[in-house]
Symmetry: C3
Subunit: 437 residues, 3 copies
């Protein structure tokens, strides 16, 4: 796309944004989500209060590349009653208690036949694990190991009142139109029930970001996608195959509310603009990590499949699968905090500022330095030990403005934050020292 | 060459291979070798029991590039008798006692005139050093420093019953023919007398490997060369100059039986396929080292001379010249062990598996991931913290099978062992998900 | 340029060179320098005793790129007298006491109005800082913080007897003509008054180097430039714009006499020959640092501005601005030492040897190693644990002399000092084994 001088960077987001995101995540948390069904629809209802979502329903049975949109899962109740007639486990008590997509079942079983249907985490005996079986028809329960280890022998009555019926897969998207139709894709999975970090945090952050962006005139168009993991992204790609060439930048978001340091996982390309921009921003964050692409994780798996190879990376805080709360009942609303959500929001805002604000200036006075002093751009008094950050930004921009370096390249080479480089470029432009390359 | 899907990888070598190699090395150890003569011939006789060697005799005086094949050295006996009539040193006692290629000499000398002809290692006073003088006509003895320091003044009787006569330089080679005439050269020097690691170990390992390969249908042809160091490699290159363009991969072997961690020294090119394959295999070996090419060492010096610049690296365990036993009587049969020889054999086998098994697959379902679950290639139950190694291999192969990555590239990028990547590619091929690029 | 085999490297400089440089720096130290005026002229007078300088006078008001040559500054006297009639500060006592380029002023001021005109370093209370105001018309004094903090309230009489009048900017240059007109630019700023390391050291070292070079027949032409910082380099570039294409290598010198380890700052290009040569030499110096280009520092700022982008790096010992003596009265003749000046001289000499002595040889016996032994270039006795440095240099040169590697490349790849590689190349040439590539 044409790189033009941007209108300037946005203001910092208000501090309260973390509270807003947290409040939205808290509303999403209790909803019974799966990859299809009313849980997804109710989640999109809540998000629609923040952003004007377009909703899509894709019928069960639709072929999407190598996959088929599954039947819709309806779960009404599920429980196990013990030999003594007491409830051992009840889906009404926790959304994680039933293996997601369990088929209907009713029967009486001795404990040893029941056991293979009960999933626990012996290493974390007091939490309920999260398990799914979308494509292999089975039923199951998830419980704390402590509870299961107390079960006496005897006959157990199992009832899973679920249904798999023709329906549809639901996803929502929102397009913030910019000056060009080149797109920045922001995607979060909408299928996990009652896991706060994974991914009420990502959904709430994206919806809040969309709301903020709505009021801003941008160069890029921003597409926000809220779709079930794997099958949702595959469905979207299948229906938008002819539009993917418009995607210049993309991020998958998940687990953005915990106390861990920010992590960026590179796109398959490894050197896309989004990879450089995220690496630059995280390079100025203490403790942040940038890790290489791998084909396991979230929907970057689909966006970065070899037939698409889109410039889509993944942003999270603690790396999924590495923290004990991951995919357990411990990933609850205590595990995410407004300040971490606000920090993730700020990081995304900085990356958007880079995407929006990058341009390639040309030094109009390229032979020797221009005399900054008489333009009021340089300390009048010489002899100081070092230069202030503003002067260094000005000098770097002038030195690298040879038409081969965009502002991001300058930030990378100088080690200075993009925003300082961008501010210096604006100042120099205003003084007629820089033009468009 | 054409990269076709291989027939599959070989089984692991039997555990007993270390004992076989050790037993062969032990048979080679006592033979009186030099760069020419009957020692080389007897060594080739022993190796011929394992592999159908073709033997070459190149007459003394033959011009080979900048060198001339030297006269053949015959040594019958050599000794020094002291002032008291007692034997001070006798070649019959140890093959290292005489400087290799000593000219004939008979005389009576006072100790101070004898001393310059006696070589010791004052820093390792109890071992006999190994010394040669192939191209400067002189005579000498090698002894332990302790023994020499006890010699009283007086007249010593010296007798070196040797002869330098027109004869030939002898080397052996064996070609295992594969489907193509592209070659993998495996070369070991055959000239060192009674040094177990350097290089009875390499000779025995190569002969054993040749024997194993003989029973295998391979893509590449494998050339095994057993020739005296330096002059032998030069002679071979001189006589096969028009065939060197067939060599796609090569390894020089020496010192492969000691307890040190495996070491690979890169070819002069540094990024040849053999360099990548060895680096990959050693990257999964604790303590292994990969070092840069340097023009000192073994016959890689000749193969990597600028007029050839062949893709030939060098494999050893402890780096030659860095361990105290190197080129001394301490490099004996106690210094090498069957388990280390077996480990070296396994490493070479893995490299051959890479050379044989590498191919460039093409993902036939490149848009999004294929649904592995319904093909039984993916865990039915979702939500686990991480994927098993097999699933990760499958995902990596699918993701990188864009026609630009061979299996070795995939192993390099994923950090997974080649054999797991290759197994995944076979599995995916069998399910019709991969084709030839 | 044509790379021909050089006539051989120069001898090491005599040990006494450090004393010579120190003595010259000591003569330069007391002169009252600024960016214009008689201080510069007197400094050039002294340097002319060592090297046949060509002197240039550029009139005030001359436009040089974005800058204008300023009026000449004349300072006759400057002082402050306290309420008690005692001298508080007198320019006659120290050249740093007056802000360089202070405008004339005469007046009586209360202490609080005087204070903004007095510059101190509270963190280093006993030293006088160095301050300038070349382009913003003001007056000021520099004093120790301790002295200023003792000043009583009251009225102070200030007298700055200075003058800014049309005159000229003065610089000197010396061209040592080599066999070709391709140039090595060596540049030092001449404007700092009474700062020993910054930059009496650089001026004295360059003049001494020029004197030594004068007696030597060189391949390159060497241009020595002694000009005021910033405006001097800009003026020179403005007047020599059509000659800058001749500059193949360049170094700015400053702060070359202190006890710090040598530091090289790369040119903007980062991979110019001078960058590689300096990195090679400093790679063999304990504690030496090679740092990336940044657009703050000395006149490399101008030479490396994007309109020129010359291959000019900067050499110093301690990095300017990082040592406490920098730009203070503590940067006096005790801060620099003959041995450090001699060390800097030696490093520059080594770099010049590389620039002069680099060439690209071609191995005339490229297939296998040539037989060095019969040429007396290799140890007669074989079997030693390692090779001596000379043999390694010979082997490296032969191995890399494929017409693609200059001696510097060989030194880089082998890790051996350039001088050893160069000596080996000469030896091999003398034996007819190397020719010109």
């Amino acid at each position: 796309m044409e790189h033009v001088k941007p209108d300037g960077l946005e203001q910092s987001p208000p501090i309260s944004v973390g509270d807003d995101i947290y409040a939205l995540a808290a509303r999403l948390f209790p909803i019974r989500r799966s990859i299809t069904g009313d849980g997804v629809r109710r989640t999109l209802d809540v998000l629609s209060g923040h952003v004007a979502l377009e909703r899509h329903e894709v019928p069960s049975g639709t072929q999407v590349f190598d996959w088929t949109v599954p039947k819709e899962w309806i779960i009404r109740s599920a429980s196990i009653t013990g030999p003594d007639g007491q409830r051992v486990v009840d889906f009404a008590d926790h959304n994680l208690h039933v293996v997601n997509y369990s088929v209907p079942y009713k029967g009486i079983l001795p404990l040893d036949e029941l056991r293979p249907h009960i999933h626990t985490l012996p290493g974390q005996p007091d939490v309920i694990p999260y398990r799914t079986s979308y494509y292999a028809p089975t039923w199951g329960f998830c419980m704390s190991y402590d509870r299961v280890s107390q079960l006496p022998d005897g006959l157990y009555r199992v009832e899973v009142d679920s249904e798999l019926k023709d329906g549809s897969l639901t996803y929502g998207e929102y397009l913030h139109r910019g000056k060009t139709e080149r797109e920045f894709l922001l995607s979060a999975h909408i299928c996990h029930p009652s896991l706060a970090n994974d991914n009420c945090s990502g959904l709430a952050l994206l919806a809040t970001l969309a709301k903020h962006l709505a009021a801003r005139e941008t160069r890029y168009s921003y597409r926000f996608l809220f779709a079930p993991g794997t099958i949702g992204a595959i469905t979207w790609l299948s229906r938008n195959e002819d539009r993917t060439h418009l995607i210049d930048h993309g991020l998958v978001l998940s687990c953005v509310g915990d106390a861990g340091s920010p992590t960026y996982k590179r796109s398959r390309r490894g050197d896309a603009f989004i990879d450089r921009a995220m690496a630059h921003v995280l390079g100025h964050e203490a403790g942040a990590k940038v890790i290489d692409f791998s084909p396991y994780g979230y929907d970057e798996r689909q966006y970065c499949s070899p037939g698409f190879n889109l410039p889509v990376g993944m942003f999270q805080r603690s790396v999924h699968g590495t923290f004990p709360e991951y995919h357990t009942s411990a990933d609850n609303l205590d595990f995410i905090r407004p300040e971490h959500l606000a920090d993730s929001f700020r990081i995304l805002s900085e990356v958007i500022d880079i995407v929006e604000g990058d341009w390639t200036p040309l030094n109009l006075v390229p032979k020797c330095e221009p005399q900054l002093g008489r333009r009021g751009l340089y300390a009048a008094l010489g002899g100081q030990k070092s230069q202030d950050a503003t002067s260094m930004s000005l000098l770097w921009v002038l030195n690298l403005a040879d038409g081969q370096h965009s502002l991001l390249s300058m930030a990378e080479r100088s080690g200075l934050p993009f925003r300082e480089i961008a501010a210096a470029a604006t100042m120099l432009s205003d003084h007629g020292l820089l033009g468009d390359a």
